[in-house]
């Protein structure tokens, strides 16, 4: 009788190249992103049982969840830390792929899917941040959504679509809730599946072309799954510790008629806030970030030539590596400046 793989084994290819399955090559980032996405999805689903998407009750419902629902604090804290980790891991994953030349054909399209996922994750993080509906999110919400208005022609329409009215009001919570749990989550989940599918379809993890007469050493998927389980155990432990010892912030309920809190974007948009200090909102808040994204998006099409793959810093990908590292450096610097203000 043929032993057929179970569901989880079946999600993996029967064998993968041993060298590229090593932690030092992937840093486990793609797998970690899948794990974190799952954690965030489950905890998010649990949050739905208690969160009330109304301006009057949103903040109180989070407090009730945090203080009175058994392990409610854990659910919220895991959701928060899972999301923060997901942003970091996704960016590092992008960096890993760029620095190993993994974006080249035939994986160019998956690079675009991955970038789209990053944008959706940032959107999910921002909408989730606003759902706290406390004084801390007031300015970020105001400034962030006002940027949409700067976009010529369609700006006003986009703004109304985003905030659910001609201006931010009580209905904005429900609108952001809609975006968070449906409008952004649905495409993100779809893109996630598509991204994983394309990894398989594009020939698995990027690896060097086999030399003539010498086959690449490969490992069985059972070994890969075991490594994934170890990574998931460690990640779970770290998440639990983070969630137990560090509570995400929750300020006083946002009252749009009252003075709002500090003018500060969430950490993953601090770089945009810094840019905005330098000039025109259309340029600094919309066109420059958009230009950066486009630059990253066209990377595989600009630097497609090269034979080396499946290892860090291939020589024939120096331009792309310099470009991505430079961009990440600038964004990190802007974030740091913003954080230290």
């Amino acid at each position: 009788m043929i032993k057929r793989p179970n569901f989880f084994y079946h999600l993996h290819p029967p064998t993968i190249p041993a060298e590229q399955a090593r932690f030092r090559y992937t840093l486990g980032l793609g797998g970690l992103a899948v794990f974190l996405f799952t954690v965030v999805l489950i905890t998010g689903a649990l949050l739905l049982f208690y969160y009330v998407p109304s301006a009057k009750e949103a903040n109180a419902s989070i407090q009730i969840l945090t203080y009175y629902v058994p392990l409610g604090w854990l659910v919220r804290n895991l959701h928060y830390w899972g999301t923060q980790a997901l942003v970091v891991v996704t960016i590092l994953h992008l960096l890993r792929v760029a620095l190993t030349g993994g974006f080249r054909a035939p994986r160019r399209f998956n690079w675009l899917l991955g970038l789209g996922l990053l944008l959706l994750i940032l959107g999910l993080d921002f909408t989730g941040y606003v759902l706290r509906w406390d004084v801390e999110v007031g300015w970020a919400l105001l400034v962030g959504t006002n940027l949409l208005k700067e976009i010529p022609v369609i700006g006003q329409g986009l703004y109304r679509l985003a905030v659910g009215g001609v201006e931010i009001g009580d209905g904005t919570v429900l609108r952001f809730f809609g975006w968070h749990v449906f409008g952004l989550l649905l495409p993100a989940t779809f893109f996630f599946g598509w991204h994983l599918f394309r990894v398989r379809r594009d020939g698995g993890i990027s690896s060097p072309k086999p030399k003539p007469g010498k086959a690449l050493e490969r490992i069985r998927r059972e070994i890969l799954v075991r490594r994934e389980v170890i990574a998931a155990l460690i990640a779970s432990g770290v998440l639990l510790l983070l969630a137990t010892f560090f509570n995400p912030g929750l300020g006083t309920a946002l009252d749009l008629a009252q003075q709002m809190g500090e003018v500060r974007a969430p950490w993953f948009f601090l770089w945009v806030q810094e840019l905005l200090r330098w000039g025109d909102p259309l340029w600094m808040g919309v066109l420059v970030p958009m230009g950066m994204m486009i630059l990253i998006a066209v990377l595989p099409y600009l630097f497609d030539r090269g034979e080396e793959g499946g290892r860090w810093f291939p020589q024939d990908g120096r331009f792309a590596q310099a470009l991505v590292l430079g961009l990440i450096f600038v964004l990190s610097l802007l974030t740091l400046i913003g954080a230290l203000r």
Binding site: V229, I230, G237, T244
Partner: protein
């Protein structure tokens, strides 16, 4: 082998995480105060919203009989986050920190037309009167010092601690406005500048001197939430450190104010106008409470037996202490109770009033401080301005009985009418009474 180690270590880390999660769930941070892990909820009828403050602050005294906790709860006055069980989060948005009656926030915490920003006719304009009273504006001292050093031609007040306006002047000496006494902007002589820098501590906006005997809170609580000599809390709230100063002695608002509370500011020393420095009294024992007589009156003062034995509030009225709603230039314009207010003169017995209206102020005050049980039809004393001396009531034998508002001690009130008093009829101020009735220091 390595993979097995990895699995083992990963499982160990996960287990550690789970154990710590369990500990946090079973031993929440508030358990250290509350002694148990069951949150304590109240739903005050005024707001209808749940409040969990008493989870940690269980045992705290009800602030007063006029503010029952089941009606007001905590948040109506204190603000904060009623749902939070995390100390930092719970105290976000507290109005005035520990003291919501601080004048910077009193309107927000204690105001409102149904509360203490009501109409003067209903005697519920407490905040407006307190903010314009001479104890808050310090206008008298500022005017006197500026006059003394030639900065102004008369003794009328032009400046107060805060700028203030009065839309309806009701007395002859009432002022329309006071400007803020800001020493930086003033072109006053140097001594006045020094006074402004060093001596503006004796008013209800100011923090007290942080030394034994000077402790009080600011705003309304300076008088109505008595402190002890060390400014420490001695009540039942387990969250307040017993050795930490800056607290009222208990979580309490009262109109039974002992003379000791008045003495936190009054009779403790003087500002020396030569070097503009505070000079504490030297006749008091250092670091501890003095016998009442010594603490009450400075050595040169003349006083009668009742002034020695009674508390300040037994005779001095709410208008004298909290103001009449007008801005004044001097304490003498607002302080009017004399010996004759209670004792009358040879020609005239004290003024009286029969209380019958259930909303009479006398009933309200006696409810707040039930040292005496007033009945409809009782005869009480009233002042020449119509303020009830609700703790002085006619007894069954026709004589008057004064009950100490803080002590609850009843005293027979002797009247001048029919006595052997030989004082001239046109010399009826208290100072003339002291000529015969002052008691000697033992």
């Amino acid at each position: 082998m390595r993979a097995r180690h990895g699995l083992f270590l990963g499982a160990l880390l996960l287990l550690a995480g789970l154990v710590i999660v369990g500990l946090r769930e079973l031993l929440p941070s508030y358990a250290s105060y509350a002694g148990n892990i069951q949150p304590l909820r109240i739903i005050p009828s005024l707001t209808g919203g749940p409040e969990y403050c008493l989870t940690c602050h269980q045992g705290v005294e009800e602030i007063s009989s006029a503010h029952p906790v089941e009606v007001f709860g905590c948040v109506t006055c204190h603000g904060g986050e009623p749902l939070s069980l995390d100390p930092d989060k719970a105290h976000q948005g507290l109005i005035g920190g520990r003291n919501p009656s601080d004048f910077a926030v009193v309107e927000q915490a204690c105001g409102g037309s149904d509360c203490h920003s009501g109409s003067p006719e209903n005697q519920r304009d407490h905040i407006a009167r307190a903010l314009t009273s001479i104890q808050s504006t310090y206008a008298g001292a500022i005017a006197q010092v500026r006059f003394a050093f030639g900065a102004q031609p008369d003794q009328v007040a032009y400046y107060g601690i805060q700028a203030a306006r009065d839309v309806e002047v009701i007395t002859d000496t009432g002022l329309l406005k006071l400007e803020a006494f800001d020493p930086v902007l003033l072109q006053d002589p140097e001594p006045v500048q020094s006074f402004a820098e060093r001596c503006l501590t004796c008013h209800l906006y100011a923090e007290p001197i942080l030394e034994m005997g000077y402790h009080r809170l600011t705003g309304c609580s300076a008088c109505h939430s008595p402190s002890n000599l060390t400014g420490t809390y001695v009540g039942e709230d387990p969250t307040i450190a017993r050795e930490e100063s800056g607290h009222a002695a208990q979580h309490r608002l009262t109109i039974a104010i002992a003379y000791t509370q008045c003495n936190a500011c009054h009779n403790r020393g003087n500002y020396n106008l030569v070097d503009m420095a505070f000079r504490p009294r030297e006749d008091l024992p250092e670091g501890r409470s003095a016998p009442r007589l010594d603490e009450y009156y400075q050595p040169i003062a003349q006083f009668s037996l009742c002034e020695w034995e009674l508390d300040c509030v037994d005779c001095h009225t709410r208008m004298e202490g909290m103001g009449d709603g007008d801005l004044h230039s001097n304490k003498s314009e607002i302080q009017y109770v004399q010996c004759k207010t209670c004792h009358g003169t040879l020609e005239q017995p004290p003024l009286t009033s029969i209380i019958s209206d259930p909303n009479d102020l006398a009933f309200r005050l006696a409810f707040l401080n039930p040292v005496i049980e007033l009945q409809a039809g009782d005869t009480i004393l009233v002042t020449e301005k119509g303020e009830p001396l609700w703790n002085v009531v006619r007894g069954e034998d026709g004589g008057f009985i004064l009950v100490g508002k803080e002590t609850g001690i009843a005293y027979d009130l002797p009247l001048v009418v029919g006595s052997d008093c030989e004082q001239k009829l046109d010399e009826q101020e208290s100072r003339y009474c002291h000529a015969c009735h002052a008691v000697e220091r033992p």
